[in-house]
Structure formats: C-alpha cells, structure tokens
Amino acid sequence: MDISELEKKQLSISRQLNQVSDGTVKTEDGEEVSEGQITQLVSFMLEDVDYGVDILSVHEILRIPQLTRLPNTPRFIRGVINLRGNVIPVVDVRLRFGFPPAKMTNLSRIIVIESETKHIGLLVDNVSSVVRIKDSNIDPPSLFIEGVSEEFISGVGRLKDRLIVILNLTNVLYTDEEIEERKTLAALKAGTIDSGVV
C-alpha cells in the first residue's frame, strides 16, 4: 500500500466516522449482522500489530496540528493541542506502550478520544481503517501481546487473516504509578459510597 493510497483511506475513515449507519452492516468478513452485535474499531498499526479503538469513544481524527510541549510531564505526553478552543493533551502511543520513538510523518494522526470526561489526543503513526467486527469474534485479552501493558487491552478481535488488539485507553494519560494511585483513590471513594456516609 503506497502512501497516497493510505492517505485516501484515512480520508474515507474520517468520513465513515460521521456515518454510523443503522440497520444491518457488513463486517470486515462480509457477513451481514445487525448493528447491536458488532463493534466498530478505528484501527492503526504500530510495529506490525493492528490496534483498534472503539469508534464510539473516538471524537475525531486530526492531522498533526501545532503541539505545545508540556514541561515536567512524562515523556509520552507530547504536549497539548488547541482543538477549537479546548486544550487537549496528546499522548504518544508509541512511547506510552514502550515502543521506540519514531518521527512524525504526514501519515501521523491524532485520534481524539473521549475518556471519562476528558478529551485525549493519541498520536499514532497512521490510521489504517475502520474495522467492523462481530462481538462474538472478540476474545478477552490474553497474555501473548508483547509490550503493551494489559492495562490498556480490553480484548483481542479475530479477523479473517489477522488479529486486532482492542484498546481501552481510559488511563492512557497517566503513568503506571499514577494509574495505581487513581485506582486506589477510586476504590476508596467506592468504599465510602458503600458505607453509605455520603
């Protein structure tokens, strides 16, 4: 797949984002199923592995805008961008997943996702396609995926000829320590709610 073809594809993905059709849809494998049974993923490639983010959490996909570096933040925080007046942090997915850094190219994209109440930009090398996958073809995360912390994996999808790692990026903004902290905090909060004080 040459570059221009890829770019075209990315364009069409952006369009698809806006037309989540109703009724029946075809999965990647050409099977017709009703909408409720399939998951649509925005997929991107990283070191020869396909990753997918649930299209419902994807806000939009951007070309790389001007990035403002945030000093004294983890290395994987590439900075903040201005998205129509909102200041949004951008996570370099490569660095966050522990892959070696790579240069930004004109295929690089920022996938803006909405997680909890926050908007987060994910800097990825490319956005390859929107994948429709039957829910029955999604398996729970297994141990074989290298590198990426299981923290971020919500499942593995089986496609005809390949697998796609489905990501859960709720905590992608935070360092491992921060994630632990947040979990403890959340547990504490949940505890208080259980005891009925609030």
Binding site: Q66, T68, P71, N72, V80, N82, V87, I88, P89, L173
Partner: protein, 1191 residues
C-alpha cells in the same frame, strides 16, 4: 438523600436570606436607637415574612419562633412593652437560632434544632415585660387586606398585545385565558404566582398577565391572577402547570379571533373551571358561542396605533380598576435574573475566544495588505474587524461586569461580629465601612468573608487596647475598625484598619527566632514589612493567651492562603501605638488576566502580571554565584535569579552576555529574578485549566490560547520556583560544581556567536539632562562599536586570561579595582567589573565581562596601546561626523567620556569615577519591555566617533584632560544647538522640506487642532480655549520634554494613524479633569468619579477618537489623502512615559519627529487636555505635496 424542602427550597432560602440580613441590620440599629419606630417596624416586618415563608415550606418550629418574635415586637411597637437590653439580646438570640436553621437547610441537612426553649424564653420575657399582664392576644393579622375573593380583574388588551394575539392565532396556536384563584390565606402568594407563570412559560407564550408580570413579585399580590397564553400544547398540560399547591380554582377560557366585516372580534369562550378538590375532566367548551365579544378595528390595528382599549369582559365582575393598575406599573421594579457563575464563566470564556479569534483577523489584514493591491478592500476589512473588536470588547466587559458584586453585602455582616467580639473582650469598638459600592468578582466575594473575619478578630483581640490602656494613651474611648474597599488600577483593594497598638516588631522577631523560622542574624537585616509577614506563618501567634476569638495562630495563615488563591496578595502596614492596616489586593477579574509573555527556548510562556514586579535587563557580568545560586545586586538589593530554562528543561537560546531579560517576580516575601530569552510584551489572556483534559502540572497555572491559535502555558510562579529551587538543592556539591562548569562552558561556547547580534537598549541619560524620563534603558555607548568588532579574541581573552590567573590576577588593573570580598556581594557589585564563580573550591574568582565599558577596558589592556583600539573602532564608523553630532543627545557624550576615561586613565582615576560608574551600573538595569527602535540605537554611534577622534589627536598622558574639555565643549555645543540653533535644518533638508513647507504644516496643524478643540467643546458643552500648537522637529528623546512642566497625573490615550499618512496621536487628560469630565458626561454629581472604570475608560477613548479624528479629518480634507485613525488604547504611566511610548509607534527619519503639541484649557485656564500629534516624518513630504496640489 439530602434534606430538601421541595421545589420551593431555593426561593425560600433566598427570601429567608434577605430577611435575615434585614433583621441583622435593624437589630443593630435598634440597639443604638431603641426608640426608632421605623427600625422596629422593619424588624417586625422581617419576622413576619419569615414566619410566613417558614410555614410555607413546612418549617413549623421556625414559623412558631418567628411568630413569637412578632408578638413580642408587636408589643414593642404598640408601646405596651418597653424595649430593654434583655429584649434586644433575646432578639439577637432568636436571630442566631433562625440563622442556624437556615444554614442547616441550605446545607441540605434536616434542621434538628430544638427551638422550644427559646420560644419559651420569648414567652417568658414577653410576659415579664408586660408586667404580669395577661399576654395579649395574637396581634391582628397585618396581612394586606384581602381583595374580595371572587373578584377578578377584567381583561384588557393593549394594541401590542392584540397584535401578538392575532399573530399567534394566525400561526395556528390556541389562545387561552387562565384565571387562577389562589387560596386567600396562602403565604407568599407572589411566589406561587411566579411559579405558575414560570411553568406556564415552559409550555406557552405568555401574551399578558394580570397583574403585570413585573408586579407579580409584589408581596401584596391578590388571590387571582390571569394569564393569557398562546400555545399548541395540550390544555391538560397547561392546567397541570398551573395547578400548584393552594390553588383553589383554575378557569380556562379559549379566546378566538373572528373576522367580521372589517373588524377583528375577540371571542371569549365559556370558562372551564378546575376546582382543586375535584378536577374537572378536561374538556374545552364550545368556542363559538362566546358570551361576549368585542371588536377591534382591523384598520387601526394594522396601523399599529389602535387607540381604543377595547375590552372584552368575561363573565366575571371586574374589581381591579385601571387606575390601580397604572399605579402598579409605575412602581420601579428591578428586574433581575439569577445566573450561575459557571454559566457566566462559560460565556466569558467564549467571549474570550471571540476576542482571540478576532485578533486573528488583524493578522489576516496585515497579510491582505501585503498581497493586495486594492487598498480599499483592506481598509474596509479593517474597519469591519475593528467594529467587531469593539463589539467583542464591549461584550467582554459587559459579562465581566455581571460577575462583579458590590462588597457592601459582605461588609454589612461584620457589624454583628464587631458587636459580639467587642462585648466578649470588653472593648468598645465601632466599625466603619467605606467603599461598600466597590465591586469585586463574585468568586472573591464568596470567599473574602472568612479572611475578613480573621483579620477583624485579630484586630480587636490583639490590635485594640483595653479601655484602660487606651485611656492612658489618651486615645478615644471608642476604638475604630475600618473596613474599606476601593479600586486602584487593575486591582481592588480591601483594607482592614484598626487604631490599636500596632504590631510589635520585637515580639514578632523573637517569636520567629524562637520558632526557628529565621536566625537572629537574618532577622537583623530584615525590614519591618518582612517581619510583619511572619504573622502569616502557620501557627504563628504572639498572643500570650489563646482566646475564643483568636490567638491560635491559625487565622492569619488562612487569610494569606485565601487571598493568594484568589490571585491577590496581602501586605501589612503598622505603626506602634497608631494602629495596623491589612491591605488585600485582588485582581479586577479572575477570568481574564493580564500577563507578560516571555519566550524561552523558542517556547512562549505567560506570566500573570500580578506576579510581576518589574522587568529588567541584566548583564552576565553582574551575575554573582553564591553556593550555586545565581544572584545579582539590584539597586542595592540582592536578587536571586532563577533560569526559566531550568524549569522548562530546554537550553536557553539567548546568546548574549548583556541585556539578558529578567522578570522580577514576587515569591513569598522575596523577589526573584526570572531569566528568560525574550520579553514579548503584555497580553490579556483567558485561563484554560489543564485539569479539564489532563491534570495539574507542577509549575503551570494553566494554558491560554493565543490569537494565532497556538497555546501558551501560564506559569504558576510560586510552584515553578519551588520546583527549580528544590531541584537545585537536591544536587550534591559535586553536581553543583559540574553544573557550574557546564554553565561556564555554555557561556564560553555562546560567546562565539554573540558578537554579531545587537543589543536592545537606549543610550544612557545623565542626571544633568532633564530630557528623558529615567525609565529609558541605558546602554554604554561603545557597545555599538564592539558589536561590530569582528575580533572575537578580545572577549575570549578577557574571560580566559582571568580564568588562568584566577585570584592571582592582582596585577591586572581590573582586579586592582576590586575590593574582592566574597561575603559582601554589594561591594563587589559596586565595582567596575563584575564577579563570577569559576573556581570550584573558594567559590569566587573574578572575571571581567562584556559590557561595552568592560570590554573596551580589556581590549586596551590586551592591545599594546590605545591607538590600536581606537583606530579599529574608528574604521567601523564611517558616519559623517557633522550630522551625527547634531543628532547627538547630551547624555551620550557623558557616558562616553566616562567610559573612555576608564579605558585610558590610571587605576586611581577609575576609583575616582567609581561612584559615577556605580550609579550607571544600577541604571543599566532598567525596564525594557518595549523593544527599542533602530534609530535610537544608531544615535549611539556618533559619540564614539568623536571620542575616537579626540583620542586620536591626544597623546596618551593627556587623554583625560582632553576628554574633559571635549566633554564640556560638547555639552555647551549641544545645549546651544538645542536652545537657539536651527536644530531641525538638516532634518528638513533631508526630508526635502523648505521653510515654507514647514509653515504650511504648521498651518495645517493649526487648522486640525482647532477642529479638535471645537469637537471637544461640543462634547463637553463648554468653551474650550487652546494654545497655539507648537509645531517643531524634535529628536525622539526630546519629545517627552513637551511634558516637562507637567506634574499632574494624566489619563493618556494613544491612537495610531494609518493610511497615506501614518503616525500617532496622544490625548492626555489630567486625571482630575478627566474625572470631572466623566461626571459631566454621565450626568453624575461633580466629584463622584474617583476611579477610571471601564465605562469611563471607553468614554475617554471615545473623546480621544472624536478629537483625534477631527485632526485627522481636517488633514485629509486639506490634502485629499486618506488618513484613518486606529482604535484608541489606554496607556499606563506618567505623561512623559506615555509620550515616549507613543513616539515609539512613530516612524522617524533620523530619530526626529515632527511634533504638533497643544493644550486645551477651560475658561479658567485650568488645563483640560493635552494633545500631541506625531505624523511619521517620512509622510510629511506627502502631506506637503498634496497640500500644494490642492492649492
């Protein structure tokens, strides 16, 4: 689940809050003046309202309490009970109880307080007061006389309403008249009416209500309200909307509009009655057989001028007469809407975006101007942008104003506090409040109460002496605590002032030492204000005893925290025996803040202006390193330096050793200098939190989106400096040294680049010349030549040779000059050359660095003789000497000469000059916010030239003497030229202007400025006298001399000129005159304007616009040139500073500007305003030519 009183809770709380405030105010009043009937009535009323509203929401205890209070007061009012302190105290107690209940409710808790004991108290007191008389029967109900139950006002439509009605019916909506009967005994009927109206509004358009909507808030609302609506909703829903508690009956009548002949007829259907008890099945009666009809003259209606009030009667009798309705309508009703601060914040945020987005257009305009040939489109575009900018700005300030709340409501709370605390402490204290109308941001108002409580308590408990002590000191018996608020500049000041004993510095000192906050040595060098600040330390209290009121040392710490959270700061002034003054300063608004934009490593950061004390330029040579911390001597004060590059973790890109921009910021009680790469100037920014989508980042307060859409991060100065300093501390000694070496290395490397660049600064001004304001940046003049000096080795040498020699470099003259004592940096700073740590162990060695002076000095030492140096410099200065001398400012020769002396003379002489040098060094550090224009720098050249020449002609030994004479000669020369000579001849020549041309320009300016005076007089409706405009060429630095004899404060507005003739206009009004002008413009009483608020500012800008435009217009008229004025801008500073500011906007040929200067006077010769017009010199020819062409 939180306790709630149901849907009326909010209304109740709001209402109760008002009543409580009323109660509080009047109770205090009553204590002072127990016999005042009005006060008693007010209290009575408040208690009464509380009673009803509490009953309404089911707080029966509270209602009972209020009822008892009411009874008691009734007795007082009827004079059956005489007021006693016991009663007043009891009333206060009641008030506290009520307050407690209301607070619980507002916190969402169930009020569990047992009010029965206090109720009993009242009963007892009441009976006692009546002297065992049988307690009176309940006072008569004071409720407003009920209107007759069945009476319903008749429906009368105005022309507009009819139109509305017709329109609605034409649109296919149904029209109903709702007649709602409210239970006559129901409390707070107006609330119900309001509720009904609101819910109806959700479903329908309201055409009319009876009584009028404004009057629905009236407490004396009748039992019947009528609402005429247009709706397409189901009738049932409408009815449900009206059916709130205690509504007894709802009549619904359909209204239709039929056309008959040429007239419209309003038809009322049969009423459909919904009784509360037995809701009738929904069913609309037949509409066609209306009971009565009325006619509207269609023609008249179409004209929109239906004069006759055609009345349709329903089947009910009318009671509300027209006259009573009119009376109601005339009652002034303040219509208010409650809006949450969050919503306003959002709105303000959006407007901020609008302002920013708009500034993007200005850039586009610049671009357009560059590429487009057609000027008219560009100008049109610009006009539109400006219009939009104005609207956005108005919108912004409008929304900002809605966030502002007068502080009076906070102040009023404290009367009670003062009363209680002074009673507790046995001190007689009165509270004076000033400036209650001063408005603060709602956010500040919400939190300011707590710090004020602490400060007031502190003042009374610690500050104010006991009555005995006061008597001994011959102070008045009644002590005073003053709460005052006022606006000054961009800040609001809130002060707590007491006339007590003042802060005891020695006590604080010893306590601070005792607590280990500071050593005795450190304390001895601190000034009083620094010592006062210790009381803000957590747990710091000098009180010997802890009282209920204060003394635990928690209070003042809280005060400081709260104030700082709001972006403010607090200072203390105190005088032993006289009193103490706490001054809190808050920013005007929280949402948009002014900030200084800086660049570091190519990245832009914003520093909130509230944090900034000043901006200075320093030279590398002035930096001393003590134990790894860099410091400089700023006007005798040691200023720690922090490199912003250390915080952002990127190397600085500033490659020079001189004029390093430094921002002096406040850091706790100290000042810290922040070294940056570049200052970009001031900007209003909207703060965006990083937490919204990420988390807090240490050292950052947020982000802001700039005009070009890029993001600038906003520094949180305190946490940023903390971080940098902690990190520095963390380093081991070894690391520190390594860092120092690295830094040193860095600088050596940098030197190879630095010489090509130029310095941004103005030449030095001597004290002897009254010309320039001292704020202008100075620079040793030789810099110019040095900058062009191609030989890098000079600098390299000065650095490395000293390094080699280290402390052993005594044989160098440089070192001789230094009484080098590392412990006393001040002394080092006083020396000609500066000091820097290079050597690791003993920590200090000397190094002479790179201001012009120092370098020349070194050069001289290095080279075999000064001739060599001189010739080098000279060869670089091919400027024609005659001309340049003319242009030369007086001060430069002075600075020059000194420098040369330093270079050539003996060491003793240098020592002689030291004092002078010292002052210069101090002045080297000056404000540099504004980059200095090219011309100003060029002026520095001629003197070095002449200096060289002189040096050339003299023998080495006589250099000094010669310089002396040269200096005085130059002095007199320049003075003569300035005083008598035809100063601007060569300027005129270079601009190809003849004497005649100049005359024409003068004439033109006369015409223009007369026009301006005329417009001015039109605006203010007064005669305006003007001075004949003074039109002449002035060198840029002399322009401010036009303000030389002005010592009053001015409000200055500048306005740029664009188009065929560019330039600038400065319109300055003496502040006092400006205020009285505003008074008369706004129709206020003279003397009521005391600060320049936004309204005032925009008014003065408008005046500037008008005055400036009349000048500009007359210029365009006479020349046919297109000259446009830009949006006026308010300038800060003295008149001189403003003139300097404006002159920078003007393009001047060879540093000369044509100044048209005049003053306007009132009839009594008071100065009304000062007008300065500065056209670009390059456009003068155009002006003259066109004037000629046009005859």
């Amino acid at each position: 689940m939180a306790f709630s009183l149901g849907e009326y809770q909010d209304i109740f709380l709001e209402e109760a809050d008002d009543q409580l405030q009323e109660l509080n105010k009047n109770l205090l009043e009553m204590e002072q003046n127990p016999e005042d009937q009005d006060t008693i009535n007010n209290i009575f009323r408040a208690a009464h309202s509380l009673k009803s509203s509490a009953a309404f929401v089911g707080l029966n205890d509270l209602s009972e309490l209020a009822h008892k209070m009411e009874n008691l007061l009734q007795g007082v009012r009827d004079k059956t009970i005489s007021i006693s302190s016991e009663i007043i105290d009891l009333l206060f107690k009641c008030f506290d109880q009520i307050n407690a209940v209301i607070e619980l409710v507002s916190e969402g808790k169930k009020p569990h307080l047992d009010l029965s004991s206090i109720i009993d108290d009242i009963t007892r007191t009441h009976e006692k007061a009546l002297g065992n008389q049988p307690s009176q029967a309940e006072p008569e109900k004071k409720e407003v006389a009920q209107p007759e139950k069945k009476s319903v006002p008749k429906t009368v439509f105005s022309a507009n309403e009819k139109k509305h009605l017709k329109q609605g019916l034409d649109d296919g909506l149904d029209c109903y008249e709702l007649t709602i009967f409210i239970e006559p005994d129901a409390p707070m009927k107006w609330v119900k009416a309001q509720l009904i109206l609101n819910s109806v509004k959700n479903l329908a358009q309201v055409v009319k209500t009876i009584p009028d909507e404004e009057n629905l808030t009236d407490e004396s609302i009748r039992d019947v309200i009528k609402i005429i609506i247009l709706t397409d909703e189901d009738l049932k829903d409408v009815r449900n909307a009206c059916d709130v508690d205690l509504v007894t009956r709802i009549d619904i009548i359909r209204i239709s509009l039929n056309r008959r002949d040429n007239k419209y007829v309003i038809k009322f259907g049969q009423p459909e009655i919904f009784q509360e008890e037995e809701p009738v099945e929904e069913q609309v009666s037949d509409l066609t057989d209306g009971s009565e009809v009325d006619e509207i003259d269609a023609a008249a209606e179409n004209e929109g001028a239906a004069e006759e009030e055609l009345v349709l009667k329903s089947d009910t009798d009318d009671v509300g007469t027209a006259s009573s309705q009119t009376a109601r309508r005339n009652a002034p009703v303040l219509r208010t809407v409650k809006v949450s601060v969050d919503k306003l914040d959002d709105l303000l945020n959006n407007v901020g975006e609008l302002v920013i987005a708009n500034s993007g257009f200005f850039r586009m305009y610049e671009e357009l101007k560059r590429v487009s040939v057609d000027k008219s489109i560009g100008n049109e575009f610009k006009n539109r942008i400006e219009q939009m900018a104005r609207i956005a700005k108005d919108l912004q300030s409008g929304i900002m104003k809605t966030r502002m709340v007068p502080i009076g409501q906070v102040f009023s709370r404290f009367h009670r506090l003062i009363r209680d605390v002074s009673k507790d402490t046995g001190k007689n204290v009165q509270l004076i409040t000033k400036g209650e109308d001063t408005e603060l941001d709602k956010k500040v108002i919400d939190v300011i109460g707590e710090p004020l409580i602490h400060m007031i308590r502190n003042s009374i408990d610690h500050g104010i002496e006991s009555p005995d002590e006061r008597q001994k000191q011959k102070k008045s018996d009644v002590a005073t605590v003053t709460l005052s608020a006022h606006q000054g500049g961009n800040q609001i000041f809130v002060e707590v002032i007491d006339d007590g004993r003042g802060l005891d510095v020695t006590k604080i000192k010893s306590k601070a030492i005792e607590r280990g906050l500071v050593t005795a040595d450190q304390v001895s060098t601190m000034d009083d204000s620094e010592i006062y600040n210790f009381i803000f330390q957590p747990g710091f209290s000098t009180a010997n005893r802890i009282t209920d009121v204060s003394g635990r040392g928690v209070g003042m710490n809280v005060v400081k925290e709260v104030v700082q959270d709001m972006g403010g700061n607090i200072t203390i002034e105190s005088e032993i025996g006289m009193g103490t003054r706490f001054i809190m300063a808050f920013p005007l608004t929280m949402a948009i803040i002014p900030a200084i934009m800086v660049k570091i490593s190519g990245e832009t950061y914003a520093i909130p202006l509230t944090e900034v004390i000043e901006t200075i330029n320093i030279d590398k040579k002035d930096i001393t390193t003590i134990e790894g911390h860099e410091v400089i001597n700023l006007r005798g004060e040691i200023l720690s330096l922090v490199r912003l590059s250390h915080f952002v973790g990127m190397p600085s890109r500033y490659t020079q050793d001189i004029n390093i921009p430094v921002i002096v910021v406040g850091y706790s009680n100290r000042k810290v200098g922040l070294i940056v790469d570049e200052l970009e100037g001031k900007l209003e920014i909207v703060i965006k939190s990083l937490e919204t989508n990420y988390r807090t980042v240490e050292g950052l307060a947020g982000a802001s989106i700039l005009g070009d859409g890029s993001i600038a991060l906003i520094l949180d100065i305190a946490s940023m400096i903390n971080k940098v300093i902690t990190e520095q501390e963390k380093m081991t000694h070894e690391e520190k040294l390594a860092m120092l070496r690295r830094q040193e290395q860095e600088y050596i490397e940098m030197q190879s680049y630095e010489l090509g660049s130029t310095a941004k600064a103005l030449p030095e001004v001597e004290e002897s010349t009254p010309v320039l304001s001292p704020s202008i940046t100075e620079l040793p003049v030789i810099d110019e030549s040095i900058e062009e000096e191609p030989d890098l080795d000079l600098n390299e040498f000065s650095f490395s040779s000293l390094k080699e020699k280290g402390e052993a470099g005594e044989n160098k003259p440089v070192v001789d000059v230094e009484p080098e004592t590392p412990e006393i940096p001040e002394i080092i700073e006083k020396d000609l050359s500066s000091v820097e740590v290079v050597e690791p162990e003993p920590q200090l060695i000397l190094e002479t660095r790179s201001t012009g002076k120092a370098v020349v000095f070194d050069t001289f030492e290095e080279s075999t003789g000064e001739e060599e140096v001189v010739s080098e410099i000279k060869s670089e200065e091919p400027v024609d000497l005659e001309v340049t001398v003319d242009e030369t400012e007086i001060p430069q020769p002075m600075a020059e000469t000194t420098t040369v002396e330093a270079t050539t003379a003996e060491v003793e002489e240098i020592e002689e000059e030291r004092v002078e040098e010292d002052t210069q060094q101090a002045e080297d550090i000056t404000e540099i916010l504004e980059p200095v224009s090219e011309e100003e720098r060029i002026e520095t050249t001629p003197v070095s030239d002449s200096m060289n020449e002189v040096a050339d002609e003299e023998t080495t030994g006589k250099v000094k003497e010669a310089l002396e004479s040269f200096r005085s000669e130059l002095h007199s020369n320049v003075r003569e030229t300035l005083d008598d000579g035809d100063l601007d001849k060569h300027i005129r020549q270079s601009l190809e202007l003849s004497d005649l041309d100049l005359g024409k320009i003068k004439l033109l300016s006369n015409v223009g400025i007369t026009q301006a005076a005329e417009s001015m007089s039109k605006i203010i409706h007064k005669r305006v006298d003007m001075a004949i405009p003074d039109v002449r060429f002035l060198p840029s630095e002399k322009i401010s001399t036009v303000a030389m004899y002005q010592d009053s404060e001015y409000i200055s507005i500048s306005m740029g000129l664009v188009g065929d003739v560019k330039g600038a206009v400065l319109f300055s009004i003496p502040t006092s005159s400006g205020y009285s002008l505003l008074d008369s413009l706004f129709g206020y009483e003279t003397g009521s304007t005391r600060t320049l608020d936004e309204e005032g500012e925009s008014a003065i800008k408008e005046i500037t616009n008008i005055v400036g435009s009349s000048v500009v217009n007359s210029f365009s008229e006479k020349t046919g040139l297109s000259i446009l004025s830009e949006v006026p801008a308010l300038l800060e500073g003295t008149l001189e500073e403003c003139i300097v500011e404006v002159s920078k906007q003007v393009n001047m040929a060879q540093g000369y500007a044509l100044v048209m200067d005049t003053e306007f006077y009132y009839e009594d010769d008071r100065i009304m305003a000062h007008l300065l017009v500065l056209p670009d010199t390059s456009d003068l020819k155009k002006l003259v030519d066109n004037l000629r062409d046009n005859g």
